[in-house]
Symmetry: D2
Subunit: 113 residues, 4 copies
């Protein structure tokens, strides 16, 4: 048996894995970062149960020795909100100990509150 | 508050999103399918909490009019097992109604049984 | 020995392969297509020797039965202009016979003309 | 007008761009590197005009502090051979000055020699 809460957490994970592995490796510079942020947000928001996606590319951190670099977890902070049948999950990704950690931030059962 | 069960479901989702969006678009033919299956399995098994990944590329379904095609959800079945602090999640992906559906199959709390 | 013309053709190919395999699989809908077009253009334009990239996502063609689909060659037309040491290459991608064909369109040696 | 030599250089570039942007970001460890090398080689060899692909993942260089890392140009050396109507192009990718440089190595016109 799986619950709506299980499903909501599962769906939040799918969005993070998709976002990261679809866009990791994209050439990015401080100038092109804003359009990439918007495209990542709007593309992942297409996915089922996805309420909102917020991507912040850390332009100050980008290695621009060659004019641009490839997007990796080191250069972005992400928050995703998923809603599955009234259970809302907020999850985020940020660097922790040199690793782009994806974690559950908050789970709200909107029907029971 | 999040539980180990929540985390396990979240982690299972991450693996599915990662697998799909890392490898979708890879050129594949019946001849190259076996090496791709193995590489997908072994690469995703590197990720944290991932116990096992099983990928079956449906070689009979591949469109080979041009000798090869691009891998999409239409052409693969996947099972992933994640273990987070004793909570084991089995999830799978298969076509359903023309859409590659990822779903939770089973959740087992190994500590309480 | 390789010439500037060889290099320019090689660089044009790199941009096409990069563009296609970076963004194939991205979730896209008629609503999110414009931001994705811009992001693809600006990200690939970061690459060395790349003068301009023009991407047209064929929103009328998108399969939206599930609200969105995954970007593939079937849904986009692309023109890329590369300049390597005065040799300008124009290349394009469009569907031909059910296959997203990338081809050289024009090569101009700007120094000798 | 474009020549077979132009086309061969263009096709070699496509293979490099495709290889890099399809597989950059893949989770890789010293244990899973061999299967990934084989899968990359066999998948890209499916593409038109591609004679052979040789991928060497530099397992000694992999950052394994977290057990695995993500594949980038820093960790691989690649040689690709393309043949377009008798013109053979050998191209390679290796790190140069902190940047994964793709370059034409040799062009042979097999018909005229």
């Amino acid at each position: 048996m799986t619950t709506d809460r299980d499903q909501a957490c599962f769906e939040a994970g799918i969005k993070f894995g998709a976002l990261y592995h679809q866009f990791a490796g994209t050439p990015v510079s401080p100038e092109s970062a804003p359009s990439l942020e918007t495209a990542i947000e709007e593309s992942i928001e297409n996915q089922p149960f996805c309420e909102s996606v917020s991507v912040d590319i850390l332009t100050d951190e980008l290695d621009v020795e060659h004019g641009y670099t490839e997007l990796t977890g080191e250069y972005m902070e992400v928050e995703i909100v998923v809603d599955h049948e009234g259970v809302e999950v907020v999850a985020e990704m940020a660097m922790e100990d040199g690793y782009p950690l994806m974690k559950l931030d908050e789970i709200r059962n909107e029907r029971s509150e």
